[in-house]
Symmetry: C2
Subunit: 452 residues, 2 copies
């Protein structure tokens, strides 16, 4: 009961502070919450195994079936379930299309998809068409048409398609979201995010270990190098926008009071992957002849209906420290992650001077994080994986999906649109309104409570 | 003689390191260097007075004439010259066009222009047409046509038009330029810069003091508020790109081996100036009814012929700490000013971790700064004003202008092009090649030596 009061009082505060409309708990929860759910796994590579390990901790979650085509990965997944004291699941591994058999045969509430990017869309579509809810790893789709497909099929089947964008739940992000909702930054003007992560040792390895040790990929590579690298050969654009865009989307009320209108993308030359191959494998290595299409750094600028801009950076082929490049700026203040700094007019002690972020992040720690910090600890990616998986499971039990198919589409569509913009010399490209006008009335959900 | 050897040895090192082509001192210096120069001043507001005070320190510089229309500012300028033991100059102050009389009547080697932005172009044109070299404050021009005018008249009259972009000489910038030339960052991929400066107290004041104390501007304002604020009413774009673009231009060899091809700009909504008026002057203040056209934050992305991208931010209407937003990134490393951090692959001690910039900036301190650090101290804007004025004076004496009319045009043209891009919904807009192809063969000058 104490929990309930505390949640209510938070919601009250949030409403009183004039932030985005807070939801009452009732609207988050269906009147008939399920007590048990059946969850299938498609893709039991390293990512899938991690989430399987986490999911096996939930007594209310049954895992009757898994699907992959890699024997080694399946064996690891089975060991995880066995170690967790779970019964052995049915295994679908015949070929790349065997997931369809699983979705046809099994009675599942939901399926979690952690396969190569190009498979997320067909698997999500097949699941929803079989009456199964979807949680898909990012990005949810690779083309504009695929994004529309997800929306149309989700609407037709009444099955949700949650994009498992875990960075939405990063603790500092949620504290800043909390500050945004409490109007600390005033009216938002500009946000930044991105994926600035030296992935050269992910895109290339020795075919045995997942990270580095060689310059192989594709058939000769292991884990992500098997499939992820090919995208850098075939496509020039922001290949991975959701870790930057996802977290700022709720701050800007994207799809819920606001939407993205258009974007431009501009790419640098492509040098890093070729250089890495030559530096590590020699200029005579066969891969040194490959022409990588993806520019090393892609900068995307998005304009929103309520006036704000979002700048995203994609920067994965160069030596650089990891950073998601976050910045949140309004008429009253600014937070900038790379400087670990914040400035709020009238609150910061010295005018025109950065303050350390730490005290603010502690003071505005999100109620959800406060409530679950113990469980989140050690659960992967600084706790983010705990929250996103829990949100998915709660949605399967009947709660409103915290990230829905419109979020999946709007976060993912930035990739194909950025490719188009670059192809057309940085032309401004319109962003579809996947909500078909519902963004005007939809109320914010994410981060409005301490429940999911 | 020791100096000469030291200069030569620097140039050798620079060439040996495989950096941009270094100039031999001969090519920087005309065979007939003047020993005395006559320098006129147009605009003796606060900025002009500062530069006048600095110029009066040079025994070889005569200041025979000044021009302004504000009696108070003229009186201050005269006092500066008197205090410096200089003879009283002839004064041109009849009206806004009296600079033409000065340029017609006076025998000057050069003129320094520090007037409201809209006057830089007509004054520079008139000076060159009168056989007088130009040093103009930034920006040099406000429209594409004006930029072309400067180029055409400079070429026709054989008079130079130096843009007085002082940030090019910032000590950290020159150290990083030094590192770029020594190939520390590898091949450059992406640079950032911008003008992120809360100017609300500059755009509005009490009509008596230059900074704050009221919400007046135009006729009722003082100093920059008299004219600068109007640009935020009339124009939506990056109004002040040169402090960000100028410093990265030599790093990217702009106009000297490289050039800008196209850009896009995207603006946020306009809120800050109106909010400031209401917060400080009340909602009934007459200025609260003004509609400011300029978006609070404007993000511009430029694509270069050699593949690189430049991201510029213009952010002057919001509470925020000052930052020019610098970032320089290549295939081998990255420097980012807001984090005060650097990472160089193979040099930085820990992989994937930022290092403090300080040691690098000290180790790669530019030879020019080392040579002149004592003189630069206390000369304004951290020494930058000393260097840019000295470069102008040396050019008047016969040295090659370190920043020329092509730099003036390419740095300044970003403003009108960004306005156009925003007007057209962030359309990609082509950047003219003001060098008419000479960029392909022109060798780098800026920062190649310890002389200017």
């Amino acid at each position: 009961m104490a929990k309930k009061i505390s949640r209510r009082s938070f919601i009250k505060t949030s409403v009183a502070a004039g932030g985005a409309a807070a939801l009452l708990p009732q609207t988050l929860l269906s009147s008939r919450m399920k007590t048990r759910v059946k969850l299938g796994f498609i893709g039991t590579g390293l990512r899938g195994q991690w989430m399987l390990w986490l999911a096996a901790k939930y007594p209310e979650v049954e895992i009757p079936a898994i699907c992959d085509i890699d024997e080694q990965m399946i064996a690891s997944a089975l060991k995880i379930l066995k170690d967790a004291g779970r019964p052995e699941p049915r295994i679908y591994k015949k070929n790349e299309e065997d997931f369809r058999t699983m979705l046809d045969n099994e009675t599942l509430d939901g399926v979690y998809i952690a396969t190569p990017w190009e498979w997320h869309h067909p698997m999500a579509i097949a699941a929803m068409n079989n009456g199964i809810h979807v949680g898909t790893e990012v990005p949810a789709a690779l083309t504009v048409k695929e994004c529309w497909d997800l929306v149309n099929v989700s609407e037709k089947t009444n099955k949700f398609c949650m994009i498992m964008e875990n960075v939405c739940y990063r603790r500092d992000i949620m504290a800043v979201l909390n500050m945004v909702r409490k109007n600390m930054f005033g009216e938002l003007l500009h946000c930044q995010g991105g994926y600035q992560h030296d992935l050269r040792h992910v895109k290339f390895n020795d075919g045995i270990n997942p990270y580095g040790g060689g310059v192989e990929f594709g058939e000769k590579g292991f884990s992500e190098a098997k499939w992820r690298t090919q995208h850098s050969i075939d496509r020039n654009g922001d290949l991975y926008p959701t870790h930057g865009l996802g977290p700022v989307s709720p701050m800007l009320d994207i799809n819920r009071g606001n939407r993205m209108l258009h974007l431009t993308s501009t790419a640098t030359q492509s040098r890093g992957l070729h250089k890495y191959i030559v530096d590590k494998g020699g200029k005579d290595h066969p891969n040194a002849a490959i022409d990588f299409k993806c520019g090393d750094i892609v900068t995307t600028v998005i304009k929103c209906a309520q006036g704000q801009t979002i700048m995203l950076s994609h920067d994965t082929n160069s030596p650089r420290p990891y950073s998601l490049n976050f910045r949140v700026q309004g008429t009253q203040g600014i937070w900038q992650k790379d400087a670990r700094s914040i400035y709020i007019e009238g609150v910061s002690k010295e005018e025109h001077r950065w303050e350390e972020e730490d005290q603010y992040l502690a003071e505005y720690d999100h109620p959800l994080w406060k409530r679950f910090e113990d469980q989140a600890e050690g659960s992967g990616h600084g706790g983010m994986d705990f929250f996103i998986l829990r949100a998915f499971i709660e949605a399967l039990k009947g709660a409103e999906p915290i990230l829905d198919v419109y979020d999946a589409a709007s976060m993912s569509v930035v990739s194909p649109l950025s490719e188009k913009s670059i192809r057309l010399g940085s032309a401004a490209v319109k962003v579809p309104d996947f909500t078909r006008g519902k963004w005007k009335d939809n109320a914010p959900i994410f981060g409005t409570n301490d429940y999911i």
